[in-house]
């Protein structure tokens, strides 16, 4: 199995330390969201890919995804229009997933190993370029993976409103308490009481992405409990389980997703 990852930046899925468009360990520096995904995968594999076989992660940096998007623009017929199947203002997400899905399938061929792909996006609704509803964004990511033919082995990771909400659920003074409310906090760091400031306050200081991973290793993360309160995490968790099931992995806790 290979897991193809692409995100927004260092503080979510991670980044390529070698400034390349695509990387694996040791150049791939995982961020807290990769650690979280790895924990869920480990529940199915009974071991951690990050700890034991980190080369199974292939990270696609944003410039590489952008280059794939540019290539698409030149190809006749590879056009994406809104309609009954896709809302307006969601093409960015749809195309991101479409391109990552195609790249994952190419890497699957290249490595002769089955691939799943995780695409992290957490732009909040304040950016008018992507002002659609969360559900519309999710659906456009799903439809993008479907268009690439990666289908349900493409996993959207779309925290509501941003990844700090998921992390704060565990890091706050009363962990795993009232986490549903975090999904309604402002993601825009220009707003008062925004999630980034709240997470910084919970950690006691501003943690780097590597330090956030260390924090998670040290404190652990009860994804089942957090997901029961935060629908966006639940959707990701469920989607990841479905992808792993489609690879033929044994069910989690005896439950087939």
């Amino acid at each position: 199995m290979i897991v193809v990852l692409s995100g927004e930046g260092k503080s979510d899925l991670g980044h390529c330390g070698n400034s390349q468009g695509q990387c694996r360990t040791p150049d791939f520096i995982p961020g807290p969201m990769t650690w979280l995904a790895d924990q869920i995968i480990a529940q199915r594999l009974q071991y951690s890919l990050l700890d034991d076989t980190p080369f199974q992660y292939i990270f696609i940096a944003k410039p590489r995804l952008l280059a794939l998007e540019q290539q698409r623009k030149l190809e006749l017929g590879k056009i994406s229009l809104p309609g009954k199947k896709r809302e307006q203002e969601t093409a960015y997400f749809h195309i991101n997933a479409w391109m990552l899905g195609e790249e994952a399938l190419r890497l699957q061929e290249e490595h002769r190993d089955q691939a799943i792909a995780i695409l992290f996006r957490d732009r909040d609704g304040t950016n008018s370029a992507h002002a659609g509803l969360w559900e519309d964004k999710w659906n456009s990511l799903v439809s993008g993976f479907a268009r690439s033919r990666l289908d349900d082995r493409g996993v959207p990771m779309l925290p509501k409103p941003i990844s700090e909400a998921w992390l704060l659920c565990a890091a706050q003074a009363h962990p795993y308490q009232n986490c549903a409310a975090l999904e309604d906090m402002p993601g825009n760091d220009k707003s008062p009481n925004d999630l980034k400031s709240a997470l910084k306050a919970a950690y006691g200081r501003n943690l780097s992405s590597v330090e956030q991973v260390e924090w998670l290793r040290e404190h652990g993360y009860d994804d089942e409990e957090a997901a029961s309160q935060m629908p966006s995490l639940q959707k990701f968790r469920h989607s990841l389980h479905v992808a792993l099931t489609s690879l033929g992995l044994p069910p989690h806790n005896g439950v087939q997703q």
Binding site: L66, K73, L76, I79, S80, L81, Q88, S128, A129, A131
Partner: protein, 386 residues
């Protein structure tokens, strides 16, 4: 080439300045004022031809219909027009005048060559005309611009070039299939009207190798078409017929809309000295397979092209770097005033263009929300991208 037009008080164009490039594509919601922009360009062109009365009559308008009215305050009577025109020499010519609806005439007409210092080429008052520093009494009546009455030999080279360019602006913004199909009367007008009326007579002028070339160009779009022919009936009507490869002849009354439009556009560009061509809803009747060829033709041809579209297919075949300035968003504020801004000049739309084609970005954008975003940007003077 027209570089900029400023209009005050022409229908919904209460006060708007529009920048133009070689290829220009106006997009926007229904009723935003796209066609009004094409109308004012045609109106400006008509100033150089004179006979503004007939122009109004053909459209079923009176001069009073031109003015902007939002129900607030006293309506302004006159329409102000200003055109900045880049001459072949590289110099800029600035022409301005105020249209008086009572006399259908441009008042206070001034043309300046924007050199350092600016050079006045033309100025009019109610009684006098000054042409290259020579003053003359205005002893004749006219409609539109005084230039409409002056022969080319009287005009300095910059003014002559400007006048001819505007006269040779071809506005096909009313292009309609039923008019394109209509037979022409022999010895009638040989120009194509804004609606496409007169196509057979117009095509009839094109003979010999020029006709062969036009037919070859048509075959690029429609490979099965061998050519066209104009026949004259005993009662003096000229009719268009199209020949296919198997010698099958189709009379214009049965030819598809797209072919007639493409034929009209090709003929205008190639054989009518049309250095400015204006077309409304360019995509009408055009099947997706030839959209790319049409866009390439319009973007690459030496004439200045001004079109409107609602079609993401048309826009998607425009290269990103062209689209950044060529695709212009037309929108109205709460008072009903039309504004025009480059579609991709907001950071949000500019970012979309990085990830998707211009047509995809256009159709992915909620135009009501975009209107709000532009109005907000105007209010807060948020900087637009260069």
């Amino acid at each position: 080439m027209i570089e900029q037009v400023t209009v005050k008080n022409f229908k919904s164009l209460a006060d708007v300045t529009i920048d133009f490039g070689r290829f220009n594509c106006f997009v926007g919601l229904n009723g935003a004022g796209k066609t009004t922009i094409l109308q004012v360009l045609d109106f400006i062109s008509q100033q150089m031809r004179g006979d503004v009365g007939t122009w109004l009559e053909e459209r079923g308008w009176t001069a009073d219909d031109l003015r902007f009215g939002d129900g607030v305050g006293q309506p302004v009577l006159h329409t102000m027009l200003e055109v900045r025109f880049r001459l072949k020499s590289g110099d800029l010519l600035c022409w301005t005048g105020t249209f008086d609806p009572a006399h259908l005439q441009l008042l206070g007409e001034v043309a300046l060559l924007m050199t350092e210092p600016p050079q006045q080429l033309l100025a009019t008052t109610a009684e006098r005309l000054t042409l290259d520093d020579i003053g003359l009494e205005l002893t004749f009546t006219y409609e539109g611009s005084v230039l409409s009455q002056l022969r080319g030999q009287l005009l300095s080279e910059p003014l002559r070039e400007f006048k001819e360019a505007l006269i040779n602006m071809r506005s096909l913004y009313l292009l309609a299939p039923h008019l394109l199909r209509r037979s022409s009367r022999l010895n009638g007008h040989t120009d194509l009207s804004a609606g496409g009326d007169g196509l057979p007579s117009f095509l009839g002028k094109i003979q010999g190798s020029a006709k062969d070339h036009l037919e070859k160009m048509l075959q690029v779009f429609y490979p099965r078409i061998n050519g066209f022919n104009i026949t004259t009936t005993p009662d003096g009507l000229q009719r268009l017929a199209v020949y296919e490869q198997d010698s099958f002849v189709t009379q214009a009354s049965h030819v598809n809309d797209g072919l007639l439009r493409v034929l009209a556009i090709l003929a205008q560009l190639e054989y009518d000295n049309a250095n400015i061509l204006v077309l409304d809803e360019i995509e009408n009747g055009i099947n997706p397979e030839i959209t790319e060829k049409l866009v390439d033709l319009l973007v690459q041809c030496p004439a200045q092209i001004i079109v409107t579209t609602h079609s993401p297919m048309i826009l998607n075949y425009v290269r990103d770097e062209v689209a950044k300035t060529a695709v212009q968003f037309v929108f109205k504020d709460q008072r009903g005033q039309t504004s025009v801004k480059p579609f991709f000049s907001l950071p949000a739309t500019a970012e979309k263009l990085v990830h998707m084609g211009p047509g995809e970005a256009f159709v992915d954008t909620n135009l009501n929300q975009l209107t709000e975003a532009f109005l907000q940007a105007k209010k807060t003077s948020a900087p637009l991208l260069p």
